[in-house]
Each structure stands twice: as structure tokens, then as C-alpha cells.
Amino acid sequence: MKKQKPRVAFFDFASCEGCQLQIANLEEAVIDVTKLVDIVSFREVMKEHSDDYDIAVVEGSIMRPMDEERLKKIRENAKILVALGACACTGCVQRMVNQWPVEESITTVYNKDEALKDNPYFANFETKALDEVVPVDAYVPGCPIDRDEFCKVLVALLLGKKSPVPDYPVCVECKKKENVCLFELGKVCMGPVARAGCGAICPTHGAECEACRGYVTHPEEDAQTDVLTKYGISAEQIMQRKSMFTYRYIEEKAKQEVEE
């Protein structure tokens, strides 16, 4: 008897859907993926839907109680849950909204409309990554994800191997490409703390790394501060960068400090 292929389902929460788009951007290779797994649910591209799946690939951040409930159901159904992209892994840029009290944002956005009160569609709370709501088994970082890395993560999961996502900084990849360091050009780059795997694609195109892939496990943040002092970069300039894609780490650090 033919062995059944693992069943994969895609889901999305608050996101730009750019990471799911990278699956379509695999072009002909999508056909290879469908040879490895059965895609049983993918709202963006298919009408069929099934709650019977082995792997759930989830894009997006959690911003409302109703979304939290939906994510918990997905977690119950899935053997393996994969966080797809920065929105799911860290909260991405929309995590910046946590800088303001929830009520302030809601008022800014909706004014004070009574009709929207107690309406679950509008009941935002702070932005959360998936693993702040349910356990996550694998991460595909980046905004957007690197589509080849997604395939590698999927294959590693199918073979029961460990994650191929690197845990060294973007600088390593950047230096391999022999790029002129952007600090030398008077720019500010997050490469020293950002997690590699993107091939240092931004510095290679002359643009600062913004750490969209999050930090490595042990970012030498103090070492980075030395670099910044060396190049005469202000604390405010670096804070601007740190609060863009990586506001999660600022929140966590603040929480830690309160606990200590």
C-alpha cells in the first residue's frame, strides 16, 4: 500500500500575507512540494478545507482574543506547528503598536464610536507572537521568509532533523560576500545581532540590515554598543532600529528588569 503523505495546512492571522506569497513564488518548485506533502488547507489559494492535518504552517501575529481562540484550535489539531515569518515569530512591525496603551491606539484608529464597543472584530489587545499563546515547534524567520529556507525547514521536519536556520549573525554572511561594511559608509546596521540565513541580502544591496529575522540566541548587544560608540552613533539612532522589527526584545528586556 502507498504510504500516505503528511498533510499540511496553512493559516494566517494579522499579517501582510507576504510570507504565504513566497510559497507561490516557489514557482515550479511548488509542484515538488506537492509531491512531498498533501496541502489540505490554504485559504489564500484553495476552496477546500480540512481540519485533519499533521503540520500547521501559521503566518501572522495574534492581536485579538478571537484570534487567540482560533490559534489554540489549530494547535490542538496539529502534530507540528510552524511559525511562518516575522509576524508569527516575533510580532514584526505591528508589534510597535505595543508602545502605546491599547485604548490609545483604538481611539486613534476608531475614534470613539459606541457602535464598535463590544464588537469582537475590533477587540484588539497587544500584538503577540504565536509562541506567546501556544507552543511552537519550528520557526521560519524573516520579513518576508526566504522561500528556500522554508523548503529546508519543511524537509528537516519531515525527516525529523534539527532546524537548518542558522544561529550566527548576518555579518558572517555579509563578510563572506566581501561587502564594504555599511558602518564604514556612515550607516547603522543591525547585522552584528541579526540572525543570518538571508544571505545578508540587504547590506549586499547597499541597505542597512533591520534585523527582520530577529536576533541570534545570544546577541552580543554590549559588543554592538562598542561598535556604535566607535562610529559615533547615538543611542537614539540605535533605538530607532531596535524598536522597528525587534520590539519584542525590548519588551522582554523591560519585563526581565522588572522581575529582577
Partner: protein, 430 residues
Amino acid sequence: MSEIAIKVDHLTRVEGHGNIILNAKNGAIEKVQWQVTEAPRMFESFVRGRHYHQVSHVMSRICGICSIGHALCSLKATEAAMSVTISEQTELLRKVALHAENMQSHILHVGYLVAPDLFRKGSVFPLIETHPDAVLKIIALHRLANEMSDLLCGRTTHPITLMVGGFTSTPSERELSSLRDRLSNILPVCDEVNQLLLDNVHMLPDFTRETEYIGLTSDTEYALYDGVIGSTDTGTHPVEDYESIANEYVVPYSTAKFASHARESYMVGALARFNLNAEKLTSGARAWAQKFGLSPISYNPFMNNVAQLIEYYHSVEDSIALIDTILNKGLKNETPSYAVKAGRGVGAVEVPRGILFHDYTYNDKGFCTRANCVIPTNQNHKNINLDLEALAPTLLGLAEKEIELNLEMLVRAYDPCISCSTHYLTVEFT
């Protein structure tokens, strides 16, 4: 006739989350409604305090499919606020980048999301088995569009190289001329894909409802990157007047805003652009419009699918012409120079789904203090609702499955990008 209750929760094969509701009793419609349930991400709120060079990177994250258009619109608004002028080369390269996105988005929509309806399939996956040649041709068109974005923007989604005043890096002349060759080689494939749609165009419902069409328009070209606001009802308006064109308001069953102008609703997107600017299309695109029997003003929203393929053709032909101009002038190494200053600026760009506005205010240090975006899909929501109300009564004789399919096809024809449409700032209630 018995009761009909259709609720399509989380409509599939569109970007984002939306529901369609239809209730009918004894042959009469009681309620038909298009609802948007996507979680709001509130970009205009959290972009406050960002430094101007980060703003386009933040705002492109509104939408993965239209990320180049959002970035360009954002840059145009910032440049207007700070009186930054861009070089001719930058403008030409930006136009090619915008074409790349238009092509990518249109072929994704027609080829992957709409085609399954025409063959009564649930997704493109079964078509890989039943129509492999067609699928491979569609993939070829999709691949080229993405390779174009890679070359111009450094990446397919969320452009890296686009910045205030110019580019962080540009492709080489050799890369551009190789792209030019690939573009001209793809035209026969476009012909074949267009022919495929033409052979099946009778599967699109024959439905019309008069409405207003709004989009950028220009005397010199088929307006995508630049122009003034054009309306089929009221003529032209300056971009700065966008707030009086797109009058936005909120309804409780939708996290996206609705909009109206001269009538109760209007439509934006490929069909609106075609209706406003058809005579400015390239010759090959005009020839295809003729074969499809499409001429302005078409009031059939399903023809938006056809207009998208016509625009794909236009984008290929126009990109070839743009690249020729760039190469004839010789590619230069440019560094933008400007001074940061306080001010307010509005930018407008045609993105695949229609006209897009970004409006920013900056302080003298270059930090954003206020932002407002008007997104194409929001401008279409009311028109979708009115179309549903007009279409639904004509369907009641059909089986429930067919009614549902027709309603879904209508919403899908608008190519609604719902993730985009749920970001707004100050909302006025009237």
C-alpha cells in the same frame, strides 16, 4: 421557494479575511452583505515616531502583494513633504519596478485564483494534473514578473533598494538588457495565456451595473506611477484633494473602511484604469482589448479579470520601451542629495488593485508625526456590496452551490486585498 441562507466564512482565494452573507426567503433577498473581518494592524498609528528613511520599509509591510506600490507611494509622499526631486533615471527604474509588481499580482490573481472558477475546480492544484501546459505557462509569466522585482528591488516582496531620492543599488546595463530580452520573449506566452482566457471568457457572468470609476490619469501615458485623479463622473482632480474624493467611513460589520464619491460607491483597479485610460495602452494591449471586445466604459465588474491580463501585456511592452530609454541614455551612478525638513506630503500610485494614497506629516528632524493611507480595496467595498445586491436577485433560481459560486466570483473579480484594507487612522462618523 424555500429559505436560502448562505454564509461564506473567510472567503477563499482572496488575500485576507472576509465573509459573504446572503439570506433569502420566498424568492426575495432579505440581506446580502460583504463583511471584512481581518484583524486591524493599525499602521498609521505605529508609524508615528519613525524616522523618514524607515517609513517606506514599515509601510510596505501593509501588503505583501503590493509591497512595491506601497513603498513607492510612501516614498512619493515623503519626497513631496521634503521637496525632494528625483532624477529621470530613478523615475524610469521605478516605473519598471511598478510594472513588475502589476504583472506579478495580475497573473497570480487571474492564473491561480480566478482560473479554477472557470474550470469549476477548488484550486489551481487539480489544474496541475488536468491542464499542465496552461499551468506551466502561467508560472512562466509569474516567474518573469518576480525575477524583474528581484532585479530592480533586490527581492521579490518588500523592496530593499527603493529609498528616498533614488536607489541604494541599481541593476547593471547587462542585467537590464538581459531582462529586456526575456520580456520580449515572453510576449508569445502572454498571447497564449490571453487566448486561454478568451476561450473561456463566456464562463464569466454577463452582469452590469452602472457606477463611477476612479484612477490616476495622465495626458502623456497610461497612468500608473504618476498622474492626477480621474473620475468617469467628474473629470480630473489634483492628488492633494484625495480626501474629498475618497470619503471614508466605518461600518460595524467590517474592520475595513468604506468609501464614496459622486455616487453611493465607486470602483478602482484595472477595469477603472482601462475605462479611464484605454487609448494610452501599448499597441499589443489595445489589440487584445479589441479581441476581448472590451471598450470603455465597461460596467461589468467581472471584466476586471480581463483588464488585468490586458494590463499585463501593457506592462511587458511598456517595460521594454522604458528599458530601451534607460539604456540609450546610459546608466549613471547617482547619489541623491536633499535636506530633511518639516512638512506634509501626499503621494498617489496605481497599485494592482487600484489607486493608493499615502499622506505623511514630518517634523523638522524627519520624524513622522501623522500618517493616513487610503487603500484600493477599501474604496471598492461599497461597490462590491451594491454589486452583490444587484446580482443576487438574478441568481435565486439557481442551486445554492451555484449562487454561492457566483457571489464568490463577483467578490474575487475585485481581487480584494483585505490585509491592506484594514489600516486607517482617524475615522469620522457621519
